[in-house]
Amino acid sequence: MFPDPGSLGNKNSSSLMLCSLLSTSELEMKYGTSIDKGLSSARAAEILARDGPNALTPPKATPEIVKFLKQMIGGFSILLWIGAGFSWISFGIHNYKEASRSHQLYLGVVLALVVILTGIFAYYQEAKSTNIMASFSKMIPQVRATVDNSSLTGESEPQSRSCDFTHENPLETRNIAFYSTTCVEGTATGIVINTGDRTIIGRIASLASGVGNEKTPIAIEIEHFVYLVAGVAISIGVLFFIISVSMRYKILDSIIFLIGIIVANVPEGLLATVTVSLSLTAKRMAKKNCLVKNLEAVETLGSTSIICSDKTGTLTQNRMTVAHLWFDNQIYSADTSEDQTTQPFDQSSPTWTALSKIVTLCNRAEFRPGQENLPIMKRVVVGDASETALLKFSEVILGDVMSIRAQNRKVAEIPFNSTNKFQLSIHETDDPQDKRFLLVMKGAPERILERCSTIMINGKEEPLDSEKAEAFQTAYMELGGMGERVLGFCHLYLPENEFPETFQFDTDSMNFPTSNLCFVGLLSMIDPPRSTVPDAVSKCRSAGIKVIMVTGDHPITAKAIAKSVGIISATSETVEDIAKRLNIPVEQVNRREATAAVVNGMELKDMSSEQLDEILRNHTEIVFARTSPQQKLIIVEGCQRQGAVVAVTGDGVNDSPALKKADIGIAMGIAGSDAAKNAADMVLLDDNFASIVTGVEEGRLIFDNLKKTIAYTLTKNIAELCPFLIYIIASIPMPIGTITILFIDLGTDIIPSVALAYEKAESDIMNRRPRNKRRDRLVNQQLAVYSYLQIGIMQSVGAFVTYFTVYAEQGFLPSTLLGVRVNWENNAINDFEDSYGQQWTHYQRMYLQWTGYTAFFVSITIQQVADLIIRKTRRNSIFRQGLFRNKVIWVGIFSQIGIALILTYGLGHVTALNFTPLR
């Protein structure tokens, strides 16, 4: 039915159609309906059966069981399953062949338990984070767009609808209304042409879900880490399997060594620790108004290098506020902060008195009743944005506006309309002696000036000569140039003889003068930046994050706001600025000289992606104005082509593809639509840009702290691995058991490694450039080498000294231990002689061996306490970071020692666990 079949036209779009290219009767025929009667109920049922209900298909969710199974086999779990499998196999063979070696069975069971428990834990954490989200959408009341298409196209002004076909693009044409938009005023009748997923919003929603969930940077890092560690585990395991086979160990024994090496190498507790750290950070961020839907998004935010931010509501307060005044030939600026209680400008002039009266009286906005106790700025107002701004402004300065209006009773009124471009009202005065009526008027400044013949200067009316008109023009241009919406105000005291008290004013015939008025002043309004934003933007700047403003607003307003928040810094110029300064045409300016750029949506439309790339590369300060939300996606893709990690804010439904596409999509909690929130990875509860920066800081902190956690966890792997290697090569009694290793990994070490997540930021965290996702890995060579080859070796040496000491003190000197393995482990030797001539049964030796395990375990634990303190800092000195600033670390240390004590002395008599009380 649309002339252009290639456009969105035919198959898709709107649900409600007022008219179309086709005439009404043609339409009725096409859809088998009638404007008056609608569809017959049989036909309606038929269509319902064909198309389904008029609702969007929810995005396809992964079944819970699949998610759960993924947790069960993901990461290291598969390695541990292999270990468990081997244990059971070797138990089975042993059991069949000779005396039962039930500890193989235990080991398998324990390994399986470890996998299942960590799997359940990770699943639970994931599920919990989704639950936060679900409860959230009920918590925050949905602010429905009061404007027509805003949820769809982002246009902030209501769009009128008529029967005229005005544009080939169904989104632009006036004769189609869309599903999910709301009607602000008026009535219309239409024919439904599409429902459910076939509507524009349905298509956007499916487009958004089609963009797909790719891996987050942290997921990639973790995967990289898992590959690395698993690679080390498997290669060392296989290497020593070959060595042990060639050293003529039995295959079965070699397999048991293999299990031991794998278990020693795999940091079983680490993935759980990472999940906990991330969810702790997510909680901390929720307190700071960043609600994280996807745990991994926490870190993504930290590696962000470009933030594409909306203007309205994110950078600004999302309410019009009086910013400047012009009267007595002078510009005054008003306070635009969030919690103004007074206005500091000079209010002594009688002109101001007159102006304030006009502002107060010529205004239809009113406070909702019952809010007397709220601060003025927080009160809800009935009326449009400008009127609200003026009402609040006069309430702040003059006090109770409603009583002033009551004292100056309104006798007639002409509301604002787009033809007149002014608003007028006539009042009685509050002076009982003065029986004149006061006519007050406000409107577009040039229209108001046209109607004036005098201007008030210092309370006196003076004729409006060309010099004064020039002054007005200058002021008007200046205020307009700041991107502000300017209103002019004038008044007239009607002569008492012509308009007696009983005069009946008729607004239709306008039986009163509307020209030769007295011009009083100008007021300009803007949606001012949030007060925390400039600071946040400068933080981003020092953190190496580029902030790009993407707005549907007019370029001048956008640029003004960008300048006031520092997105465009005071010293930088756009191409246009340079052209103006040098007085040359724009084309002659060297584009490289301009650091800032304001790009209009219309220009963007005609740009090739190379041109966009060039803009993104060459300009550090960019504002995209008059952009449609669809263009946001193009901008995001452009940024990603530069290799940036892009955060994007959005609120409208058709922001959702951009939110999905971005590395981290940030939806607005207050103004955001549900679709945007669904597509986003994070929700800003207060819609404030500054909260994003807090989030970035937290994200960087968690990356740093995860590095610390991993370094801490990896260190002991060497101390757990060396025993196996030396056991195989030197044939000494086993220094540490597989189950004991599990107790370190999942017992003593868990709380300390989580405690590192509470570590405070090291001083320079927001003065670094964002991490380069290709180079700055979570686990890099330095970290691995330092943990494995330096600290790890030191730990092993320490643990072996303990091991030899324990054996020596019990009678086996180090020299007797070398090469002793075969006899030591022989069941049939029950009078094994030690260095002092004492004789030991097999069980007595095993018990001594467990004592050795325990000593080795305690040694690693104590050294891990030292390691924990080492790992507290990466760049700062430990004294600068402070030993006691992170209290949780001490909880970790005490828990570590406590768990070790319980295991050694409390469970020392449970043989399956192989712990013995030490003396």
């Binding site: 000779e98 005396a99 790719e214 998004a297 596409k661 030899f804 009678g811 001539g837 004789q839 030991w840």
Partner: protein, 288 residues
């Protein structure tokens, strides 16, 4: 969440790897220049030399501080293990099966006993003194040669019928086999609290109530007190454990019996987890 597209083809990966191993432009071998590799190797060499030094120093200090005569702690050896000769182990512990009429089944057992008793010939025991009084042989001074302590002589003839002298087959062909029971050495262990500990063998399991007809050598199956305490290998280099021999006199043929020989005496305890502490359990089946 967006992509981090790092999909590379296999050949690209190989090329990358080759460039990593030797990058001709930057002259880097595995990411480092050659001189850099030398330095880092020297660093690690020095580091590990220092670490090994520390380890060696620790072990040296350990050896210097340790008592050469007795271990610092003896909490792990509270009660002596008991061993049996001949010792043939089956799937679950000691299992001695033999056929009276088949030499081959018991010759090995007899050889084991002879080998074991070789250490108890008068020649092997010539360094030790004869002891007669049945009290602990406490020596506070080093009275032996080369600054050692004296040990009491235990010769195989003390085992009389089970000495292998009178009956070189230890009664195996007759179905009245000898078993030698030895108690493990523990330094400064005083068993029996003044009374000599003795060996007592009984049936266990279903046959538990049945009396076991056996002769014990030396008389009453006791370990004479003068073999205790043991002062360790350095103080008593020629010490040998006292033995007790058991000769089972009336074992029903062709039935597997489970027998336990316990050493009875104060200070000798049993451990549920350890089948050889203070006692020795074994299965015996004599066929014909």
């Amino acid at each position: 969440m967006a992509t981090l597209n790092e999909k590379k083809t296999c050949s690209e990966r190989m090329a990358d790897f080759r460039r990593f191993v030797w990058n001709p432009e930057t002259k880097l071998f595995m990411g480092r220049s050659l001189i850099n590799w030398v330095w880092i190797s020297l660093y690690y060499l020095a580091f590990y030399v220092v670490m090994s030094g520390l380890f060696a120093l620790s072990i040296y200090c350990l050896m210097r501080t340790i008592n050469p005569y007795e271990p610092d702690y003896q909490d792990q050896l509270k009660s002596p293990g008991v061993t049996l000769r001949p010792d043939v182990y089956g799937d679950r512990g000691l299992r001695i099966y033999y056929n009276v009429s088949d030499n081959k089944t018991w010759e090995g057992l007899v050889t084991t006993l002879h080998t074991f008793l070789a250490a108890y010939t008068p020649a092997a025991q010539h360094l030790n003194i004869n002891c007669t009084n049945n009290t602990y042989f406490i020596q506070d001074t080093f009275d032996g040669p080369n600054n050692t302590k004296l040990s009491c002589k235990f010769t195989s003839d003390m085992l009389q019928n089970c000495s292998g002298i009178t009956d070189p087959t230890f009664g195996y062909p007759e179905g009245k086999p000898c078993f030698i029971i030895k108690m493990n050495r523990i330094i400064k262990f005083y068993p029996g609290n003044g009374t000599a500990p003795r060996v007592n063998c009984t049936y266990v399991g279903e046959e538990g109530s049945r009396p076991l007809d056996a002769d014990y050598y030396p008389g009453n199956g006791t370990f004479s007190l003068h073999y205790f305490p043991y002062y360790g290998k350095k103080a008593q280099p020629s010490y040998s454990n006292p033995l007790v021999a058991v000769k089972f006199l009336n074992i029903t043929r062709n039935v597997e019996f489970k027998i336990v020989c316990k050493v009875i005496g104060a200070g000798i305890t049993f451990n549920v987890h350890d089948p050889y502490e203070g006692k020795v359990e074994f299965k015996l089946k004599i066929e014909d």
